[in-house]
């Protein structure tokens, strides 16, 4: 069932705000990692604290989030993450 297929992506950042090395941070400068779950229906991304020394992401340290629904927002311009916080929406999304 195509609705069960999932693709994971990730991207590192040196800081919460864009800076000269945001595109290509060196490992030692990575402070945040954005982990994405992409399904047929949505893309859900959390940007969480990341420790480059032990390569560990801290999922309780959420710096920001993104949530886009493919059908209603295929170009991913309307971030629904804040609207979804706390509600049971997220529970229903977790595959």
């Amino acid at each position: 069932n195509p609705h069960e297929s999932i693709a994971y992506s990730q991207y590192p950042r040196p800081a919460d705000y864009p800076q000269w090395n945001s595109d290509k941070p060196s490992l030692k400068d990575i402070k945040v990692m954005g982990y994405s779950i992409r399904t047929i229906d949505y893309r859900y991304t959390v940007w969480v604290g990341f420790n480059p020394h032990d390569f560990l992401a801290n999922f309780s340290d959420v710096h920001a989030g993104e949530l886009y629904f493919v059908d209603s927002d295929p170009l991913q311009d309307h971030n629904m993450y804040n609207d979804s916080q706390g509600g049971d929406l997220l529970q229903s999304l977790i595959p």
Partner: protein, 422 residues
């Protein structure tokens, strides 16, 4: 004798700007022709939208959190584990493995050796004209030479009178000719540089995309709800002379709209130039009677933002940066074997207005990942598929974190065609 060869074509920074992915503006007849004989995955995603981490990830079949390569500065065999690669596995199974152009990212991330000797039977080939890619070879309106982002060139006016991808195609065709009589099967990986920046291509390709036909991205503004951490400030293109001259503000720009359209025009022109190179390569497969015995896999390492969300380049988690073309041609399985004397991949000139629209081949909508390339190629070639990786798997040399995509190949459709044909 029955072992299938493998031709893996990896294109640098190619987003879904292809006819076979529904882009009506793009002239990519040769890649569209490949797609018409292939299984095309409409929803394939890279695991990280930047060169070296993505390439090391799919060539080892491990995710970035396992290769521990998020930048360009470490070699997975030192940093994470002695993970086998796709070419290494084929080499260990009796294949002659060869690399042309940009397969591994050059530098530390592939041990300054394209991971030789582990991955390759012969020294990898790199086109000599690559060294001019980022030098002042772009003739500006002032008649001077610059190191620009937008760089349509007159072939007679550039060093060596050639371009890296042309040289790579010539080298790959020579290798195919050598291998056509070899007793051993081959695994040939060809890595094309375009449409990676700078957009340096034969200037005639610009005529395929008259500027008046080029629109802006459908959503060229930075979205209001976009967290700043999610935004990539496209610092690499800002370093090019023609972009520097625009004096853009950091980090959000914007780029003046006429220059945005010129960037898009030159990206598309680069794609059509690349398409001709793929066309010559595939046509040679036919000429050497190898199309019946060679699997062809076509993909890119990640996509590229062309102004969407006010962003350019890759470096983000947006679909335009992670969504990649992915298709597999398997002889006699995704397409009937060509009848005697007929060609599967005749070269098609993108300038030829008569080149008709291609019939689509098999398609799959399920979401898949580039990390599945390793198990899928081994499965298609009939080799033993490496086992799934345990978590963690740093201590395991041969395993895979992606799943084989063979279940998406509907070979029985072909059998129907066969009976129809009979």
């Amino acid at each position: 004798k029955d072992t299938l060869n493998v031709l893996l074509i990896i294109v640098d920074d190619l987003r879904l700007s292809l006819g076979c992915y529904g882009d009506k503006l793009i002239k990519s007849p040769n890649i569209d022709q490949l797609a018409s004989h292939s299984l095309l995955f409409q929803n394939a995603f890279a695991q990280q939208a930047v060169c070296a981490p993505s390439r090391v990830s799919f060539l080892t079949g491990r995710r970035p959190d396992t290769t521990r390569l998020y930048d360009f500065n470490s070699y997975w065999r030192v940093q994470a584990g002695n993970f086998s690669t796709i070419p290494q596995y084929f080499k260990e199974n009796g294949y002659v493995t060869m690399s042309v152009g940009k397969v591994f990212h050059p530098g530390i991330s592939s041990n300054h050796s394209d991971d030789s000797p582990y991955s390759w039977s012969v020294p990898p080939y790199h086109p000599s004209s690559e060294k001019y890619e980022n030098t002042k070879t772009c003739r500006g309106p002032d008649g001077e030479l610059h190191a620009n982002l937008i760089c349509p060139v007159d072939m007679a006016d550039i060093p060596e009178g050639t371009l890296p991808d042309k040289q790579s195609t010539e080298q790959a065709i020579q290798l195919l000719e050598k291998m056509k009589t070899s007793a051993s099967p081959f695994f040939l990986a060809v890595g094309y540089h375009k449409p990676h920046i700078p957009f340096r291509y034969p200037k005639e390709f610009q005529k395929l995309y008259p500027l008046e036909n080029i629109t802006l991205a459908p959503d060229p503004q930075v979205p209001a709800g976009l967290p700043p951490v999610a935004y990539n400030p496209w610092m690499d293109i800002r370093l090019r002379e023609d972009v520097q001259a625009l004096n853009l503000s950091v980090p959000y720009g914007p780029i003046p709209v006429d220059f945005q359209r010129k960037i898009r025009q030159s990206y598309f022109a680069s794609v059509s130039y690349l398409d001709t190179q793929v066309g010559h390569l595939l046509s040679a497969l036919d000429d050497f009677h190898l199309a019946n015995s060679t699997i062809v896999a076509f993909t890119s390492d990640h996509g590229w933002s062309l102004g969407e969300h006010g962003q350019w380049a890759k470096y983000s988690n947006f679909d335009v940066a992670t969504h990649v073309p992915l298709m597999f041609y398997a002889p006699g399985r995704t397409a009937l074997l060509p009848e005697a004397g007929k060609k599967l991949f005749p070269y098609i000139d993108p300038f030829d207005p008569a080149s008709e629209l291609m019939e689509p081949g098999q398609q799959a909508v399920d979401l898949v990942e580039l990390v599945s390339l390793f198990p899928t190629l081994t499965d298609l070639a009939g080799l033993h598929v490496p086992p799934r990786c345990p978590i963690p798997s740093f201590h395991v040399e041969l395993c895979r974190e992606g799943q084989s995509l063979l279940k998406h190949f509907r070979f029985n459709d072909l059998e129907k065609d066969l009976t129809l044909r009979d």
